[in-house]
Amino acid sequence: MLLLNASGCLDALAAPGVARRLDAFVTKTVTPEPRQGNQPVRIAETDSGMLNAIGLANPGRERFLSQILPDLVATLELPVWVSVGGFSAHDYAESCAALHGDDVAAIELNLSCPNVDEAAESAADIVTACRAATPLPLYAKLSPATWDMSEVARAIEAAGADGLSLVNTMRGAALDRDLRPILATATGGYSGPSLKPVALAAIFACRRATDLPIVGMGGVQSGRDVLEFVACGATHVALGTTLFADPDAPQRVRAELRTALDEAGLERVEDAFCLAHESVAVLDNHA
């Protein structure tokens, strides 16, 4: 099991010491053109989570390739996963074609940012286009806001993806005391502890549909959470919102995982893989 960061939740050049505690670093999403992102206010805390409306702020593909990626590779000495975004299958495929294995361990296709318009093509069509453009491992990052996750997972696998990243944030809103949206964009991506049950259900469903590796994320706060994600079928686990509150989360979560394994009577985290599925006999169509 690899411990990663969720894309967009860590700037490894601003905080290399945090990134080096991970097994691999996942970049913020790179789009073909530079993006300033949304106007502030961009974040809002809720009772048990947070909203963000960053809007895929990034320097664009050209500067990412010429400056950011070489800096990351030189600074981190870690496998780098590049998160790729766009507004058409062509955008995604072009970025994939520009990434090469010397510097990039894997590509994560951000198919589900709640803060920007989606590409017109289906997630599977985008994966098909990217598959033709790169031999690098391709992970498809999906929203949990789909009724039938297992069907999406099968379509993504058939299109040639090498893995799934589950889950992205879900769209949410929060109001201030004058009943106005806190975020300048009114809605944003909802993350944090309250997303965990949604993420576990998505991973659970997709694991029954596919044997592809799954990077599990969404509300992971503790070592026990990591174990639960793996028990539902995650191969790897990523930290998101918890990194904002605690930059020491990678080492803390690893230490807690050791304790959680002891409490569960398990030796290695891999021993927990899919344990949650063993006791489930009857399933409806969506799991």
Binding site: D11, A14, A15, Q39, I43, N52, T241, A245
Partner: protein, 219 residues
């Protein structure tokens, strides 16, 4: 950047504000205008607080308990533990010739520590009520104005102004003293450059306040 669990020494009320004092441990104090992220008990995200005072072995933060996070911080009791990350960001430049400190409301928070660093220069503080103005006790030599009088009604313009306060006050100070050093505020999730949540416009670009600021020079 270092994060430690620190013990609460005391919470002292100064008018409507709470001065939260915690043991410093091996955290650095940092420079005036730098800030720390304080774990807000029971909340998902920590809260950014600039250092108000650094008594021996302690860090002290002035808190306006207006929301669930700041209220949780103000309700801490001696002996409670709270995670503190910092010091963070870029503070005030103190290589100035004729300093004048200007603060508004809870924006006076970084000024007592700044005042010590500059050997107690003149200061002007503005508050919205007599009750809020009790916080001026933190800067005993300061001139105080109370709404409807504004700090910009009384400050001289031939000074090196270092200011912190609500956005309209900072805009008004900038209009009067274009090269003032201004400490801004923005909602932050992380405080260390990870989340891109705290952007403000700097020279036409959206920049992270926690990385570029919180003190920005407007000229």
């Amino acid at each position: 950047m270092r994060r430690e669990r620190r013990s609460v020494v005391a919470v002292e009320w100064i008018g409507p504000y709470a001065l939260l004092r915690v043991t410093r441990g091996s955290l650095a104090r940092g420079g005036p205008g730098q800030f720390f992220m304080l774990e807000a008990p029971g909340r998902v995200l920590p809260r950014p607080m600039s250092l108000c005072l650094a008594p021996r072995g302690e860090l002290a933060f002035l808190i306006d308990p207006i929301g669930p996070g700041t209220r949780a911080l103000a309700e801490l009791e001696p002996g409670d533990e709270v995670a503190v990350l910092g010091p963070l960001g870029n503070g005030f430049r103190v290589d100035v010739r004729k300093p004048l400190l200007v603060g508004g409301g809870i924006g006076i928070a970084p000024l007592p520590y700044l005042s010590e660093a500059l050997d107690r220069p003149p200061a002007v503080l503005g508050f919205r009520s007599d009750e809020h103005a009790q916080a001026a006790a933190l800067l005993p030599h300061a001139d105080v104005v109370i709404d409807p009088v504004l700090v910009t009604d009384v400050i001289p313009t031939d000074r090196d102004v270092l200011a912190c306060g609500p956005e309209p006050m900072l805009e008004a100070v900038r209009a009067l003293v274009p090269d003032a050093q201004l400490a801004w505020e923005a909602p932050m999730a992380c405080g260390y450059g990870a989340c891109y949540g705290c952007v403000v416009e700097v020279d036409g670009n959206l920049e992270r306040l926690c990385v570029e600021g919180p003190v920005l020079c407007s000229s």
